[in-house]
Symmetry: C2
Subunit: 317 residues, 2 copies
């Protein structure tokens, strides 16, 4: 298959690119390199069957030309920062919803039918139903990020209803692993490299979060790549969680440091932070996928990768 | 209060403007007159305390200047055409979601806290739960219109969560009454004026729809205008429905014609048409609102208004 991966130079995207190439697919990564890193594609760029197109999804013409002849699009490109949405309130709608419509229109014009989309568990807002299934009660949005991802989901669903595309919408928890470049693990490791005696933690540390290892995430995408279904929504996560403090303890142990913790306080780290995220993943498990990496091992692997790739601390702000 | 009504020259907007002026409020209608009609504001324009600003919600500066000093915004302006979304696939996201973000940003910059928003029962897609409550299972979108209204809802909810606005989101069924300018009643009346012997009906006529009379809709908006609540979602409809064929029969009786019906066939009229819409309105009834106009009387009043205002058939395509 010829697979276009938007955001292919990013954390999840570049891991997916490597796996798709291993599986023998022809792969095009489309990335504006705003948060992606060409370094992540070093191996891929040495392989026949891979190309990188540097372009922005808001540029309709480059999206249309890149998708020509594709069999499937894995649409991962996004403004993925839940926490700083309020610094740039229009960015989420543009980069998540409008960009998704550009992908869908380019698919229509090129006759590409298959799309797999990375949505987020954030679309459940602060649901009372935990673990949260895909058909949880209609939620209220709590972040611009979640709202814009829900907008993108809705567009994809409408295009599917109209018979234009066949879609798998994944709702991801946060992903950990090699090439991870934003979130609490990198924040903590960065702080501890600078001052091993002190760690600032947003919130009171009791927030409970579920994380998934990137290889498990990529395996799920590959497992659904060729499925023929007009529309399916699949939670993608682990049936386990840690508190932010548990995760901080694990990171400190891995780094062999013993800092004093300074909590900013409150039961959430920022506006729209969700104090408890745990997705019901029985739907995707029922079609044969299972997560293989325990949560704290995913934390360890992320710390190890960051310490072996310290250049990311200079490249990522 | 000083109330800005976006889409104030439209069907529901102009009815609301009249009612707000009657109640003694200062009212500004903001409308790009793309589907609104200045004629609908003839009475309002003669009153002190009313002004019409002709401007588009995609023009950030005009939205910001119009909202200066407002106490509340009733945001009704929208691309309201569910049926023809696929002729202009980008229009819904622009005019419904981006326009809503412009309203929210203008509110932030002007310190306006209160927004009431016209969303739609279409956000429930084809739910299995009928009558449909506000916390129905997380639906799949079936139209660009519904997807874009859901995007707007999500943005409003995120702004509310961030403490920027206090919001009431109404999910409307279709509204009938004076100044109604699009939907099946005007389609049928237009056809029957041209040829009283023949009526084309989209679908097989069995689609079941709920409609609400515009005075009841306006009364609900006015009842929630000054409520102090960070976020509430309220279905707004009638606890009754008719089939499209029932409605056609009633319209024919009112016009005293007896045409041959020609059904296009299928259980829905167009892509994304929902064969059965009936909202659970117990939440808004629990705060004291009740619909006063029976459904078929709303149909009659709409037919009567159209026949007394035949200019609309030339103005509306």
């Amino acid at each position: 298959m010829k697979v276009v991966v938007t955001g292919g130079a990013g954390f999840i995207g570049s891991n997916l690119v490597d796996r798709l190439l291993e599986d023998g697919h022809q792969v095009v990564a489309l990335d504006n390199l705003s948060t992606g890193h060409p370094q992540f594609l070093q191996d891929a760029l040495r392989q026949r069957g891979f190309s990188l197109v540097e372009g922005d999804l808001l540029d309709e013409s480059i999206v249309e030309s890149t998708l020509a002849g594709a069999d499937a699009v894995v649409h991962l490109a996004a403004n993925a920062d839940v926490r700083f949405g309020w610094d740039h309130p229009r960015r989420d709608l543009e980069q998540n919803a409008m960009a998704t419509q550009n992908v869908l229109e380019a698919m229509r014009r090129n006759g590409v039918r298959r799309i797999l989309f990375a949505s987020t568990g954030s679309v459940y807002g602060e649901t009372d139903v935990i673990p949260t299934p895909e058909d949880a009660p209609f939620p209220l949005q709590t972040s611009l990020y979640g709202a814009s991802k829900l907008a993108a989901e809705g567009l994809i669903q409408a295009y599917s209803e109209a018979g234009e595309v066949d879609a798998t919408v994944f709702r991801f928890v946060s992903i950990l692993g090699p090439r991870y470049t934003h979130g609490h693990v990198i924040d903590f490791v960065r702080q501890l490299r600078e001052d091993p005696g002190h760690l600032k933690i947003l919130g009171d540390g009791t927030q409970r979060k579920s994380y998934l290892y990137v290889d498990d995430c990529v395996a799920a995408i590959c497992a659904r790549l060729s499925v023929q279904v007009p529309m399916e929504v699949m939670n993608l996560g682990l049936d386990a969680f840690v508190t932010v403090k548990d995760s901080a303890d694990r990171i400190c142990a891995r780094l062999n440091v013993c800092p004093e913790f300074e909590f900013s306080g409150g039961d959430r780290g920022w506006i729209g932070d969700n104090p408890f995220i745990l997705l019901d993943v029985s739907r995707i498990e029922s079609v044969g996928w299972i997560a293989r990496t325990p949560l704290l091992e995913a934390v360890d692997a992320t710390v190890d990768w960051l310490m072996a790739n310290e250049w990311v601390f200079d490249q990522v702000s």
